[in-house]
Symmetry: D2
Subunit: 400 residues, 4 copies
């Protein structure tokens, strides 16, 4: 691997391509073929599938349209590693991704290398070919999203293993947090959304005007210690804190704590990449659903911020708000709907984001699993209200 994803002298697209691709492979270093094969649930994908699908993305959306005399690496892969792009054609059923043992991991790695070699030839031209450069950049952003999914999906797989194996060795350094403060914002007529030349997903655009009433935002995320107090106070057993759908969800599944939390009779533990460990009172709570986040906020006499409130606060504080990024995605009160004037990208990549704009909730920020350089204040992550296997937490808000 050439370089870490941090600062680099070579800022060319080709260099960025190599760095992102290498980061993926570094991430899965040490995983066995079995580790890469298994699929823990329909929402998650096997690591091997992530490795292949990100490669498929470059082959299908870059090579196929820009490489002279394009020939597919293996025609069957077009269907096998398509995720959901109807414009590309058929796709293999998502819940059966873990059953595809052939091609094996070695063949998928060879597929990566073959596409990388072909991409290298194209990338030489990309600097002066804006459309090509845009597609490559999209492919890299896409691969970074799958880097996060590799982490969350593989952690979920390990969590179901009764041996509770650790993925990472060592013990993480203990978190230290800051006292909770309420930062006040005046609101008014503000602009949110992405503008400018730098990369952003289509769903972050267009930049547009919204009216915000005055509000306050918590200076940091809710901690595991605070969450334990919510549990101790019977928070999971009092319907008054919960949305009706949340209470039904909680009752049907018998949810009593965040995902990966277990009580051993004495104290709470949580399954992490370092194996099962005691919870850390000072660290941000993670792996909570929107339902839980919303119930907690109500119990705490607060509410979740809207995504506009969140983004405006980040801009106004110039990134000085603790824990804005790199800890946990933060559930908002905003449903994932199009910005006024939203236009999906043209072509098949237009299915990237716009297709999902119903019954999902926006999360802002980024998490410990988000790769370096991928986070943005205007970023709109989204998941169904019941999702918990991502690194999802919350920050409170209040009316002024």
């Amino acid at each position: 691997m050439n370089e870490p994803l941090g600062p680099s002298l070579d800022r060319s697209l080709a260099a960025r391509y190599r760095a992102v691709r290498a980061h993926t492979e570094m991430l899965v270093h040490g995983l066995s073929e079995a580790d890469c094969q298994a699929q823990s649930m329909p929402d998650a994908s096997p690591v091997k599938w992530h490795l292949a699908h990100t490669t498929w993305f470059f082959e299908t959306f870059v090579l196929e349209s820009h490489e002279a005399g394009f020939q597919p690496h293996e025609p069957a892969f077009r269907v096998l590693f398509n995720s959901y792009y109807h414009a590309v054609g058929d796709k293999h059923p998502r819940p059966q991704r873990g059953l595809v043992t052939r091609p094996g991991l070695a063949e998928v790695m060879a597929y990566r290398q073959a596409v990388d070699a072909r991409m290298a030839a194209l990338l030489a031209q990309a600097e002066t070919h804006a459309e090509l450069a845009a597609l490559v950049t999209l492919g890299l952003q896409h691969e970074q999203q799958h880097q996060e999914l590799i982490t969350t999906d593989f952690l979920h797989l390990l969590s179901l293993n009764p041996l509770q194996p650790a993925w990472r060795s060592g013990v993480p350094t203990a978190a230290a947090t800051v006292p909770l403060e309420w930062r006040a914002f005046e609101g008014g007529l503000v602009d949110i959304g992405h503008a400018g030349e730098a990369f952003a997903f289509d769903n972050e655009t267009p930049r547009h005007r919204v009216w915000l009433q005055p509000y306050r935002l918590a200076s940091r995320l809710v901690t595991q210690g605070e969450w334990a107090a919510f549990i101790d106070d019977g928070g999971y057993h009092q319907p008054r804190w919960w949305l009706a759908a949340g209470w039904d969800w909680r009752s049907a599944l018998g949810v009593e704590a965040p995902l990966y939390w277990q009580h051993d009779g004495t104290a709470w533990t949580v399954f992490t990449p370092h194996g099962r460990r005691p919870i850390e009172a000072e660290a941000a709570v993670r792996h909570v659903s929107l339902y839980e986040a919303d119930a907690y906020a109500r119990w705490a006499g607060a509410r979740l911020p809207t995504e506009a409130e969140w983004e405006h606060a980040m801009v106004r504080t110039g990134g000085t708000l603790p824990q804005a990024h790199g800890v946990a995605w933060q559930w908002t009160a905003s449903a994932y709907t199009p910005y006024p004037g939203f236009r999906p990208w043209a072509g098949a990549v237009g299915e990237y984001n716009g297709k999902f704009m119903v019954d999902q909730t926006v999360l802002r920020g980024s998490s410990a699993a988000t790769p370096p350089g991928h986070a943005r204040d205007t970023y709109r992550n989204f998941f169904p209200a019941a999702a918990r296997w991502q690194f999802t937490g919350l920050r409170l808000a209040r009316d002024a």
Copy 2:
């Protein structure tokens, strides 16, 4: 029955109480005990349950707190006819409402009469007792909502009868529609939501400011003839028009047309309160899900309006937009979330609306099944994206 729901000389609360309660009973006139017993699906309720639950609402939220020496009509009814108010206590499971054959219809009608008699005594004081008047008014609005549900739920039940029986005799007069025009609105900083003393649900408040970009709104609803053209053009078979969740829904259920539509080999028919009849090209399409409405809009090169766009247009046009009310609820592009500064009502009635603010979509206007006097421009109806058994249609919008 004392009087129609139209203009009346007696505008007292007592008179309104009598009128609304009588309207419910007029609505179910002619239904057999069997008709009132059956429950067609978990989302729908038996007519008998509606008759009892609306009565339970007055007993529980008005009599119990305001009647001296209150004694329950029948203690078991408190649980049996509770819909979802956790603050009131347990409730009978919703999918089993159709299995409660005892109490029978006669006992439920006796329950209605007994509560009406006790309410009459209270209502004499209500004019000068603001809190009591507010609760009674809420109860009447609540009963009107159930009047609409009686219609939609019973129509759904009949639709599943292989004999396709007609509920209403006669043939409705043919609809005539107006040419589609695009009305332009400038937008800007506008106010939406309810203000003032007249009744509104808590979810319509507080009135607040929003920024609207210029937009255009169709002058009328999408018609059945237009919808048939969408079908003929293969609209139900092209994933590009559909949200991903919508396409999955459509594919899993094999949806090919609006609910109640059938093709007899020659032409489309639709099941209505007057039995199965040919579709009417000029009439508004009804019984479509949000998924279908959204797909249609995309196919038509348009989009659904936000609820703020819809409400602002109604206010600006002073109610002169054809088909604003009384035809079909109109799906919007807005998820059902709280207005800025929203506060649910205090007490158990606070569970009325706020508990449902996730994974639901707002509909505006009102339908042919909405009782007279119940519609408002600020009214926020809401249903899950897949719901079709309500009288749900759509009006298109476009960016300016």
Copy 3:
């Protein structure tokens, strides 16, 4: 009603027809239209459906082939009230029987009377028309089976009503039971199955030879008091007593006692036609699945008898074994498979029994809900291993 089902001076087929039909109507006397409408689960049917289907049987299998100038009472009923006879054509889906509110109960009763009147004309000839007489007799046996189902299905419906209403007034006289004795049988080469001219279902034939090893049979059924001892001994929590499928069933559903049993903290109660009542230690246990019966037998150091053992014992003891009939159907160790040389009846009625000969277990005897005159020692009742809403109990057996 003309006469009881007991001894009668008029033994003609016409008299028997009137008696059986009248018994059905006596059975449902006092039920409301709502009581007759509701369907408590897919395995059970509404009372109204039973009333119509038994009539449909006579119309379809007797009138249609033997009445000159046959015209259907109502053509739609052919599909609506068909249970499963593919040779007759389509059928209405079983789980939706409770949704057919039209025709109403009065129309169904009119259907009964119309068919009865047309049958009366035919029955005058039946005495000298063997094939006709056989079909009428089958129709009467069929209706008697549905009489038992009316009882079990309606009891199940009432059991789900949170008010736990009693169907029958008064209190049943307390049961008295006899001490358990083990009756020894030598076995050897014996004949079982029906022979002779009297009516029997096709599945009881042909009479055939089987070899039985010596065995012992309990003199009476297992009692509720004995069952309570099984519960107290942890019988529902020790997998060693249970078949694998039975343990899975028990664990998945959390079964802790027979159907309709509840523990009020002090003692067991059971829901009966007389409402919820204390269990009776001396009375036979009822409403147990095959899984439970088999587990109990193992716990008691015994086993269930085969159907051949059961039938042979009844023949050898000449009906003197206590509780042989009229208390509870008795689960056997025999799967429901065809007798050697079995031939289903010709025509559509051949679907009556033979279609179900897989994954069902034979029960012998008859129950308190079996109508007078319907029981036979050769009778083969059959239900899936998990069924509990019938009056099902058990009698133990042991190797000699």
Copy 4:
């Protein structure tokens, strides 16, 4: 590997142990770790699990009770690789076997080798220790059963791969079959079941007397060509041939042909260990459910034989009936119930067979996947009526 499973000079238990264990490893030769990891459905298990579970069987039932100073190889394996023995304790949920990526394949192979080494020491004593020898023999028979499952489960996994990869190279030699003849048997009082000192499962005992009526048995299995004629004649679309449960199963799943059969527009193909290939008219049909076998027999004017008829015919013909073994398991008309006087083995291994004696149907013979030396005429295989992923076919019978 020391030797093939065929004739050997060394007939010691130790030699047989080595041969059976080596056969398992030969069977999975060439499979990747991914191939060994995936689980295609809850009824099937990963190859890696089979490799571990067969080893667990020896560790738990032989080493634990007979090895001095026994220490578990890895305590967690006791739960992880238990299949269903409640007497042993907890077990890992069957549908999640494919999610256990750690231990990896190498660790499982090391587990095999470690247990083999410890077994070698014990086996030296086994020749003179009857109880130990019996347990080892049971373990070997058990492992042979899992050898067959490795084949059927892995074939099922490959069949779901859209690339339809071949497991075995080359092309099998074409089958040749014999003309169908009907062999007559007189029946009478005959003995069936296992007797003597040679190994048999407990469910094959005790040998006992049954009465058989005269019958005829087909000289060979039903062929693929005959099955194609059944399909061509509309056999899958005529309910009259089907058991009610079979028709429901067929209709719900849209079954149109045996498992692994596909029609490419011109002809039928079938997925086999050699990949997807044309069907062979002369070869025995395989991968049919009991429902299909029973329907076919009825269509052919025949029936399935009972297991007693099958076994008696094999004994009387002295193994000269073509295709008795080694082609396909043959569905019978017999439900899997205990033989008269059946006693399960003592201890935890008593759960081996007796726990499953409900709602399963007996199959007789053996299949192409049955390992050499494992078949017996008294062998009672059993599967649910809908199972098709085994090599299951049928032989017809008729009354004399």
